[in-house]
Amino acid sequence: MKSLEELRALREKMKSQTDNRSVAGADETVIKVGMATCGIAAGARPVLEALLDEADKRKLHNVSISQTGCIGMCRLEPIVEVFKGGQKYTYIHMTPEKARKVMNDHVVNGNPCKEYLIGEN
């Protein structure tokens, strides 16, 4: 270890390994992917992987991504719920590409992707 910068770079890299190792704080964006049998059958896993991958690439430490049980609307799966700014957004019929867009537009830039929200299509 030759400098503090080197230590800090290593810490930044390691953070992605330890992110999500706590209960989400009030200021965190919480993302939940429905992963019951119905969700998995509809392709929830690649969606989850895309979300995790985006969080890594963008070094987002302020989001918590996890899976949840059946949300109760199996025909709309894969479903992704985003809890941000005290509001809940339910995205339906998600794909990895749509998930990446949600990460970019909504989670990072604060503009919900209206076209994927439940009730919009």
Binding site: M14, Q17, N20, R21, S66
Partner: protein
């Protein structure tokens, strides 16, 4: 990023409850399901709630599973990890709300009043991976010290924080470092006391097992402050997991250049070695410890010269306790004021206690100084099991004394404990209920010191032995009232004429029980009676004729045939044959057998 973290407790308690088998089974299942990139399984140090081990916690839900068995692994994976449904039946009961929702761990009684500083990484990181320590701000304090602060700055911060030694005596850490810095020497040493000899204490062990790098980092900071380049950690060989994790940690720190030469590109060099102790209590005393590191028999020597002037190998040396060190990196990062804002006027910060004895939640707790004994025992510890009445708590182990029930609202800090005849000690806290005999407790601790006295001083070697014999006379019912006075006199004689802290404090358990529970001593002496029903020689098992239905169960179970009687007639116990094993009383379904 992982979507889920499974943290399995790898502390001593849970490990002995097979938690490593659980860990292996989890890793195996995760691999089989192909979830290695989504779900991370880690072992950590102690969570504190050892009574409910083996423990694991799943994030980000924060589901706290207690008393987990290897057979439960499949259900946890199938339900929680794959389908996102928390396995409610395995949750630590207190975390389940009435409506079935899960409560945050920090809202449970056990954790609510705790404040984790020294234990902050225990149960959070994998102690065998330096990268995880670094992810949680590890070695940042060392970097800051080496690149932005002078040695005097470091000492000033520690001084201002008010940190006092957690090994027992409570000496201000900053002052100790200042003495060593001011001493001139071509070589200086930094030592860590991980001997932890108090019966029932496991705080230091848990820190070393759960967060070894915090101690290593702090020792490097101390070395920079006093101008040393070599450290030693003296740890007892009976702590194999701690020794193993420390060894791994030291090697990893060396690989990253956090120990060795030119740390952080500065001209500061520091390296660290482990020395194993054979587990003699006296080797926890500072001069004995250093003598032992030098390879000699661990015997104390007179002070002065103090170690800060002439310590290990005759060079200026500081010795601090594990927990003292564990606070240091945090103080450097968060500042003296932050630390000083916790605790009381003269005792800043927090203290870790190992809760044991007659208490519901045996385990490890860290509380701000000034918390009352009542809060620790009732709110955090859950009180005495089986609805028994709390009688006293012992702090300071064999050097300390007991705190009786009427002083339970005393705020805990160094000075208050001394004022009531006990002491902080290193943090063992043994709870006693109405079934404990206080004379017997004093005898237990004295037996320990008789064994552990190094034998150098007559007052300690022979005095403690005589004191022990007098206690035996009390519990045998052969002591007189004069003996009680003689005992007290001997106590003061031993205290005044012993060289080291062991002898000087050995009589404390006797003095404090004599002070607070004199009536119990007198009952043994005058009435030949043990009020708690513990001292066997004074016990007499009797059958109450009115209640005895003559079922013969006791007679059939007595191992020595001391009970006689015919069917359906009241039975009797022959006191000359009875060995007071208590089996008959346990077996009788009519409550006809009593201890008197």
């Amino acid at each position: 990023m992982f979507r889920s973290h499974i943290l399995v407790c790898g502390g001593t308690g849970c490990t002995s409850g097979n938690s490593m088998k659980i860990y292996d089974a989890l890793v195996e299942r995760i691999r089989k399901e192909g979830l290695e990139n989504e779900v991370h399984v880690t072992k950590t140090g102690c969570f504190g709630l050892c009574a409910y081990g083996p423990i694991m916690i799943v994030y980000p839900e924060g589901a706290f599973y207690s008393q987990v068995k290897v057979e439960d692994v499949d259900e946890i994976i199938n339900e929680h990890i794959i389908k996102g449904r928390i396995v409610t039946r395995l949750l630590y009961q207190e975390t389940v709300g009435e409506d079935g929702s899960i409560k945050a761990l920090n809202d449970t009684n056990f954790y609510k009043k705790q404040h984790r500083v020294a234990l902050r990484n225990c149960g959070v990181i994998n102690p065998e991976k330096i990268e995880e320590y670094i992810a949680y701000d590890g070695y940042e304090a060392l970097g800051k010290v080496l690149t932005e602060m002078t040695p005097q700055d470091v000492i000033d911060v520690i001084m201002q924080s008010g940190l006092r030694g957690r090994g027992g005596a409570g000496f201000p850490t900053g002052r100790k470092w200042q003495f060593a810095k001011n001493s001139v020497g071509d070589k200086k040493y930094v030592c860590c006391n991980a001997d932890e000899g108090d019966p029932g204490a496991f705080m230091d062990r848990s820190i070393l097992e759960g967060d070894p790098h915090a101690v290593i980092e702090a020792m490097a900071i101390a070395a920079y402050a006093i101008g040393s380049d070599q450290g030693y950690i003296y740890v007892r060989a009976e702590y194999p997991i701690a020794v193993q994790r420390l060894t791994i940690a030291i090697n990893q720190a060396r690989e990253y250049g956090l120990l060795g030469k030119n740390i952080f590109g500065t001209n500061f060099n520091f390296d660290l070695d482990i020395r194993l102790g054979a587990g003699a209590f006296v080797c926890g005393e500072e001069t004995a410890l250093m003598t032992s590191i030098e390879g000699h028999r661990g015997e104390p020597r007179p002070r002065p010269p103090f170690p800060a002037v002439k310590g290990l190998f005759g060079k200026p040396t500081i010795l601090n306790n594990v927990e003292t060190y564990a606070n240091v990196p945090q103080i450097i990062l968060k500042g003296a004021d932050w630390f000083a804002s916790m605790g009381t006027e003269k005792s800043r910060g927090t203290k870790v206690f190992a809760l044991g004895g007659k208490i519901h939640n045996t385990g490890l707790v860290e509380i701000p100084m000034g918390t009352t004994m009542r809060e620790i025992i009732y709110d955090i510890g859950g009180g005495c099991p089986n609805g028994k009445k709390f009688k006293a708590a012992q702090t300071g182990g064999p050097s300390g004394g007991c705190i009786p029930a009427h002083l339970i609202d005393t705020p805990i800090d160094y000075d208050n404990l001394i004022a009531i005849g006990s002491m902080m000690g290193s943090g063992g806290l043994i709870v006693m209920d109405e079934d404990n005999c206080m004379v017997d407790i004093a005898k237990f601790f004295l037996e320990f010191t008789v064994d552990e006295s190094c034998g150098k001083c007559t007052a300690c070697r022979i005095g403690t032995k005589r004191l022990y014999e007098m206690l035996c006379k009390v519990t045998d019912g052969t002591a007189t009232m004069e003996d009680l006075d003689k005992m007290e006199e001997l106590c003061y004689y031993i205290k005044e004429n012993s060289l080291c802290g062991l002898g000087q404090t050995a009589p404390n358990p006797v003095l404090s029980t004599l002070h607070y529970f004199r009536d119990e001593y007198e009952a043994h002496v005058k009435e030949k009676r043990c009020p708690a029903g513990v001292c066997k020689k004074l016990l007499r098992y009797q059958i109450v004729a009115d209640k005895c239905k003559g079922c013969t169960l006791c007679a059939r179970n007595c191992p020595v045939g001391a009970i006689s009687g015919t069917v359906k007639e009241p039975h009797v116990i022959d006191p000359n044959k009875c060995i007071k094993c208590g089996v008959c009383m346990e077996k009788c379904r009519f409550g006809a057998i009593i201890k008197a």
